[in-house]
Symmetry: D2
Subunit: 412 residues, 4 copies
């Protein structure tokens, strides 16, 4: 019988982490003694538990330790993390540590050091002179970069429940179309107002990110979203060629994918409209030119340009054209999106599986995130891919945006 004492700390009660760790130990065939439990008596207090784990063999003990590590269990006899140089540009050492999007620290020369801007599925690279640590995508690692390996000297912290007693503070599974949307939307609106207020008062520079798909335009949500942007509530927009093209198609022709938004039916030759729109914007040189020249007068793109919203348009193999602003290289587009993440304090993922998952991949778990889709499988998919923090809202994007805009003061 071998044993090891580990320490769990953080929000281990309200995140159910303590319970999951104890369960895991027993499930895998170990036993445990809870030698010390200090539970925070207020919600914001940290809790602390010392657990002595026993197992019949050293192998099983290692298996248990490996399994509970991602929950934040730290072996008491602390050791520094290990690093190995990357053998080639873009290739990680075999035993690289794959990051989580939870708050993460590495132990370096006996100090625990926070890794900034956590993101899932990256490597952790240490620079020594001067010391710095970063999460780095596989493809961006350079030969010789010191990459953290194994699991020693790394700790992650369970997600802290936000202080606000709003929808993000309850983290109930929301992937049900049979839930009232209004309270969730009201909470989202409240956070958007707070962020805007803080920016106006110079007390903060938090950003609201919207990642969206063309169904926003097709289903009739253009007007509401344009209002929200014009009113200054959105600071970063992630989308593709289609959302931008159909937004401007609606501006030029009143249609989206050839479907007249006002009359509610297809118009003859309507499928050409987005092509003519793209061709025209290409001729003008950029979306900014299309707006500033007055060719496109209103809509989402116009609002973004006027409000200085940071836009990242990522290309896909579905694209016609594409518009001149589209970043057609997916890795470059991803890097541009990644660079826009710091400072995001609220993320709205609306009606696009691709953009929802791609953005979910980039967000720290601590960013309150809402995923809106008419298909309940989309929020599930996001959660399957690790973005468990996202609150799922099953409704059509147009209704969501209209309701959100109204909560923010729209009278449309």
């Amino acid at each position: 019988m071998t044993f090891q004492t580990v320490i769990l700390q953080g929000h281990i009660i309200d995140s159910l982490i303590l319970a999951k760790v104890l369960d895991t130990i027993v499930m895998l065939g170990g036993t445990f003694t809870l030698s010390e439990v200090t539970v925070g008596t207020k919600r914001e207090d940290l809790s602390h538990a010392t657990i002595r784990i026993e197992a019949p063999t050293p192998e099983l003990l290692q298996e248990i330790l490996k399994t509970i590590q991602p929950h934040g269990a730290v072996v008491e006899t602390e050791q520094d993390c290990t690093v190995v140089p990357a053998p080639v540009d873009g290739i990680l050492p075999g035993d690289f540590y794959a990051s989580s999007h939870l708050s993460t620290q590495i132990r370096w020369e006996e100090n625990w050091i926070e890794v900034p801007q956590p993101e899932m599925d990256l490597s952790i690279v240490v620079k020594t002179t001067p010391f710095s640590v970063h999460m780095v995508p596989m493809g961006a690692v350079k030969k010789g970069d010191l990459v953290v390996t194994g699991r020693k000297g790394i700790r992650v912290f369970p997600l802290e429940r936000p202080k606000e007693r709003d929808v993000f503070g309850f983290m109930e599974a929301q992937v049900s179309s049979e839930r009232p949307h209004r309270p969730i939307i009201a909470d989202v609106a409240k956070r958007m107002k707070t962020i805007q207020q803080q920016r106006k008062e110079g007390k903060g520079s938090g950003k609201v990110l919207l990642a969206g798909g063309p169904a926003i335009i097709h289903s009739g949500g253009r007007e509401a979203l344009a209002w929200i942007i014009e009113a200054g509530y959105i600071h970063v927009l992630f989308c593709g060629n289609a959302l931008a093209a159909h937004d401007m198609e609606a501006g030029l022709y009143g249609t989206s994918l050839g479907y007249n938004l006002g009359m509610g039916r297809s118009v003859p030759h309507g499928h050409e409209h987005h092509l003519r729109t793209i061709n025209r914007v290409r001729a003008l040189g950029s979306i900014r030119q299309a707006i500033e020249s007055g060719v496109i007068k209103e809509g989402i793109m116009a609002a973004c340009i006027r409000q200085g919203v940071q836009m990242v348009l990522a290309g896909t193999i579905r694209d016609d054209g594409p518009l001149p602003d589209v970043i057609t290289d997916s890795i470059q587009a991803q890097a541009t999106m990644r660079a826009a993440i710091p400072g995001v304090e609220l993320a709205l993922l609306v009606a696009s599986t691709l953009h929802a998952v791609a953005t979910g991949n980039l967000l720290p778990a601590s960013v309150p995130t809402v995923c809106v889709d008419i298909n309940p499988a989309v929020p599930t998919k996001l959660s399957d891919r690790g973005s468990f923090q996202a609150v799922g809202l099953v409704m059509d994007s147009s209704s969501f945006l209209s309701e959100l805009a109204r909560e923010l003061g729209w009278e449309g």
Copy 2:
């Protein structure tokens, strides 16, 4: 080679019936000559085509004639329909004619006679002294009733496109969540206003039917629907125990299925609320009593009672309680629903597969019908079961009802 000449008439162009009939003939191995085609030159004109069908064998010719009959193709050498007495109560003669919900005529003593209130999947029963003809459900047929059999002397007419150039006049496949909802909802609202206006002016007594499920309450659509009813826009309500129970639960406890509608989360012991609600209404004796005694002050049930809306509550095996107003026998409930259909000029089927299909079964094809569900499979299912006239709208019921209420003047 044998041949037969048939006549097609009605809206055979805009319903694409002529094309389908010609295609069917060729598909089955026959050939045809279009000996005469008189096409209406205005939309409201009837068209007329005489088609000579040739087939290599008499059997194939019969097969072709049988196949094209439901499209309204009438053999030129007209004959009266045949009738056979029902052998036993509730049992039809083996060769009974199964009705369609399209406009139907039978030929009786050389006259074509309209069968009133067409409904799919019924039998046609003739009474001779005095002469009358009705569609009758299998279970309601009495021994000796004269039941129409075979296909001779029966003609059905393709669905006429409504004169209004609104969503019901285009009949495009609408089962896409990527369509703008607003124009459809605007057209629905316009029809509701027209019906109400005509009733007020004594020029009509058309009714608007809403068949709905409890997701209306769960998803937060109660307030909007109650407003629509209070404003006099609904005249018949089909629902089950759950919609009524959760509506009154919301009135008494602010919850639906134990989920607080205002706060957006489950409350402790909330799952008991609908049971306590049902128990209380049972003690009071009826929904009417619950409203009139002041126990329930607002909501959908209260609005229905106050506005004199005809309510049919049909029981199912999911029911708790049930409420005293629920008709627990499904055949009796169906008969009560059927009796409420005449006069319906607009049907809204909202967030209930069961009620949508059951109501679709009862409606003539000529009644403009909208099926609203967040699941695109529900409108498809309705169409698979014959209610092809229903326009599908893929969105959550709460957003639909809010938008509809706003179009009608709500300021919520």
Copy 3:
């Protein structure tokens, strides 16, 4: 500051109940001391925790106690439960205790007594001479029945994880279409084989229940399901008029809802087939007659009759006919279903929202349950309504049944 000491016992670790209770106390504004925690060191051991709860006011303390009671927290100073006579037939006393489908005990004359056959949303009725206790639906309570009220002297036990290390032992959220179905289906098949083996050896009389909808027939699952039943793996069938009618329609005409199952397309006048089928079975008097007379030779109904499967056919307002075996009164149908539940050791809820929810309502939480539907919202709906134990499987019913049959030895 007031306090109360409560005891939690049962599978409080692996069910995460301890964590949830502690979290709830802190959330509501109380504090706690874990004065004693005895955690089972093997999976089958019970755990035990003594928690001292403190709250600033007696009202808050009561609120906390009320909130944690459904998790199984029992106040240490134990008291008997209270009972109040039902005032009228079918009406419960105002403060009636609404049951859960978890294992439940009441304290009566200082003894804890198990309430047999737990089911959600019922009342608990005590008979005194001789003593017995039962869960009773609201509508079946008689005037004077002693109904348990309040929350004192009642305890419920967290769901115990099954000993089998199969899919039911992990209880991960399975409502994802992106999960491999095969291991789940293999586990289901294994349980079916075990139950059959035990029945054959006279060691058990466990039953497998299948509740299903007509999509089983429409989507082509008839042959596989009939094989499973013929092989003796199903003992109880819950369905409606449609499943039975379309099964026999397929037997007589090769179609389901008029769609030829072999050719994969609609056949002319096919929509009449189910009506002719129903009419014919009505004329014969019963499904049993239809099978025994040789009119229907194979299929699901034939297999059920031949294998002595208990069938409950519940009527709905969608029904044509209906078949003579259909119980048209929903409360009577529900009672017949309830009577068939004792002994069920595995429940398969396939392609019917109505039957899935209705059956989920009747099942104890301890019965392993799988809910199969192509729409991920159906398992979610089931879970929203309390049947959290159900494993959701998002796939079409025909593929599920074929795969299951193959696991059981089918070679189709």
Copy 4:
């Protein structure tokens, strides 16, 4: 009153084109006389109709002519098409003709000339010395290219129904989960066998294209698809980084997205597996290297390499890594996909909205296409974007591939 005579020819009856054109004329306010209708009396015969259209104003007449042109209506007074040089690289002249994926001809020097490899939403570019005509994407047009403009001298032909009397010959709306899959899958298998047979006998070089998403791996369809490929039934594979990575993850670790495919549950640190897989293949240099070096022994990638299947891996912003074979530039990836289309005689679009729509964009309408997804909205989306020829099959990809493999002889 002005008039114009137009000619419709092709499969105008079975495609319902005649009916739609007549309906459109009347809808827009015109009238017509069918001066001549020659209907093919066998299915393969072409039909021919001469229609005299009258309208009150020349503007309306033009509007009608414009609206019916995409259906193939050709103005009798035939004129050559017009061309205008592209003003700049990548920019089309303002009035460019946007192509359809139906068979298309242009009239050039009084001859009708077929445009090869029709694809929707491209421009048509004419080269004069020597004469050739091609469809060209907007971005690939060069300054000075002669681009067809307007609508004169262009005709498109209604889709011809395939001669085979299989599922592709009926073109019924199949987007219903309540349809039997087996006949459709059997028809697909039959075509695959025919194509393989013809290739083996040197009578043809038709290709089968599969475009798929990673849900194929997640849901357990890997083994079946690998078998199908090994058996030589697939010749082109379109996918992304994820399908390839998870396929090889399954080979190395037995998991997909960290979920053990055999046990049906998540494994500790499983989310790292695909990263380790990608890193390893990057180190090896290519997927081919990973297979040929024996690191990856079986699965979809291994089968493709061994069978010489043409693979196009297109990058997206969701990608980790990516694998070395991924084309990260979306326009280059699209062009590579486009180059693989000629010769495709059957397209299977499986469990990927992105790849389904992107591939649908590239396919001529004449290629029989099946779109398989568990979400009925995906086939609808495809159809909304113009790929109306695709037969929708609502089921999970794993069940589809297993069933298809069994039809082709698999015994798994």
